[in-house]
Amino acid sequence: MAELARNQTPMHTVQEKTESASLWKEGWRRFRKNKIALIGLGIVVFFILLAIFAPLLAPYDFKDQNLAERLQPPSSKHLFGTDDFGRDIFSRVIYGARISLWVGFFSVLGSVIAGSLLGIIAGYYGRWIDGIISRLFDIMLAFPSILLAIGIVAVLGPSLQNALIAIAVINIPNFGRLIRSRVLSIKQEEYIMAAKAIGMSDTRILFHHILPNSMAPIIVQGTLAIATAIIEAAALGFLGLGAQPPNPEWGKMLADSKDFLTQAPWTMIFPGLAIMLTVLGFNLMGDGLRDALDPRMKS
């Protein structure tokens, strides 16, 4: 019998490789078939690479001023032209990817962590805790989000980091509500009842059963939220409340360009295009992820 079992082992491993398929793998298989989503992924990867290799790719440093060559139109020397300090816009757009992706990613990470924690507590324990947390979300959502962000930055002082914190805070209720509703529905599932019947503790149920099953919508919503966060960061930058000079934040570059719009439209076009493309990339990817991971959310 033991020998038989040993003889069978190689066959089993083959079967394991070919036949085990988690929901994540199935999701990836569906995602791969979606061409538009793959374009989104391509754009996102392109900007991530741009951000990582900025020092290698940019022909100039983002803060190198050359007043003799200010407001030059695009040329072979300056691909995207120069701004009013004679800085190379091509280089600044490349370095700007670092700032926007950084703000987008970490602000969303912050809101996901805080929102998930609050949402899980509200959804799982219910009763008055749920009441308090849900009302808190309602109050935060009652403010126009950009106004709330401006308020937070005004209190903390204008800087890129504070803009990031503000964006993270204003997105907390969105994630909190999402997770809360997920937890509420998963809590009713029979496998949670089964987990309780086994004798599992609440913490283990939360972190081994409820949280992993809530991940798909978080990932989808998170990807879409990165796009929004990038726009919000640009808006705060435009208002002078985000990145401070000489940091090449795209929104800030747009704000600086508004005085020379007619003489030097390239100072506006290229940072604007960069914002548009990144946001588009994240949105396409997010939509694709939603279709792949959470088919029920498709509407």
């Binding site: 929901l23 029979e190 496998y191 086994i198 004798g199 599992m200």
Partner: protein, 321 residues
């Protein structure tokens, strides 16, 4: 008969009905209303009744997955209803449950191996290797292959999933298994396989079952004794053969006469029940069944009948006896 494993006395569950802006309690649904029975070691107790009669609620209360409103549950001499949370979790090792819907009762993101290993991890049983070994053994016991361990629930058929559910319930070597409609979601051909598996496992491991179902044929096949529930109350409890051959309670009689017999030539007197199931939020006074009973007397409308032993081991709650 052998010694009792589980004794349930006066078990009640009233779900509050809340209404208004402030969620004030405006009434209650008497899902389970004063149920008393005993389960003996090694037997299978079937519980039947139509939808909404409280049979699943009863099963879940035994494990305190739903907290009882009142009553006592004594398992192996220990009172379950007052156990502190930590003790309760330990006790669940000896009392396990098989669920109705094999598509909903397994976590879709866990492999079969993880699903089966988890009860052992939770109760701190064995080393990692021992646990894996037991998972593989148990897969064989329920008729699956070891190579199934790495797959996910959605890669199995309903019958296979139910086998996984059964394997999970067996992992901790429990003494009592509460099977809540374990085959009602399966095709008839698969039902027989799963029922036979349950019977084999009972012989092999000396298990005691509480088998909850609405299918009278299935219950008869597997049960030693059968309890019939109506509107949250146990109306009749007897040995399986006795119950099916000479049902005493008018409700049981009506229920059994509704069982289809696969013989088109067979003529029989059908007892059709008139009326609908009364609202459990407002059950009839006296005997809950009097509104639909063909033998209703005046006393039935006023006094609730107590469980009486009318023959040896045959209990009925009816004023006729």
């Amino acid at each position: 008969m052998s010694e009792p494993l589980l004794q349930v006395k006066g078990l009640k569950k009233y779900f509050p009905i809340t209404g208004g802006v402030f969620g004030k309690k405006v009434g209650e649904v008497k899902a389970v209303d004063d149920v008393t029975f005993t389960v003996y070691k090694g037997e299978t107790l079937g519980i039947v009744g139509e939808s909404g009669c409280g049979k699943s609620t009863t099963g879940r209360m035994l494990l305190r997955l739903i907290e009882p409103t009142a009553g006592s549950i004594v398992f192996e001499g220990k009172e379950v209803t007052t156990l502190p949370k930590a003790e309760l979790r330990k006790m669940r090792r000896d009392m396990q449950m098989i669920f109705q819907d094999p598509f909903a009762s397994l976590n879709p993101r866990h492999t079969v191996e993880k699903i089966l290993e988890e009860p052992l991890i939770v109760h701190g049983i064995g080393s990692k290797e021992e646990r894996k070994k037991r998972v593989r053994e148990m897969l064989e016991v329920v008729g699956l292959g070891q190579y199934h361990a790495k797959r996910y629930p959605h890669q199995f058929s309903g019958g296979q999933r139910q086998r996984i559910g059964i394997a999970r319930a067996l992992m901790t070597n429990p003494k009592l298994i509460i099977a809540d409609e374990p085959v009602s979601a399966l095709d008839v051909s698969i039902q027989a396989q799963v029922l036979n598996l349950l019977e084999d496992l009972q012989k092999e491991f000396g298990l005691t079952y509480i088998f909850i179902a609405h299918d009278l044929g299935v219950v008869r096949h597997i049960s030693d004794r059968v309890g019939v529930m109506y509107l949250g109350r146990l109306v009749e409890l007897a040995d399986s053969d006795q119950l099916y051959q000479s049902p005493k309670h008018p409700y049981t009689q009506a229920l059994l006469s509704a069982v289809p017999i696969p013989d088109p030539e067979y003529k029989r007197e059908r007892q059709l029940l008139s009326g609908d199931l009364p609202n459990p939020a407002n059950p009839p006074q006296g005997c809950a069944f009097h509104t639909r009973c063909s033998a209703c007397m005046d006393i039935c409308k006023q006094k609730r009948p107590e469980m009486k032993e009318v023959e040896k081991g045959h209990y009925v709650a009816c004023h006729l006896y």
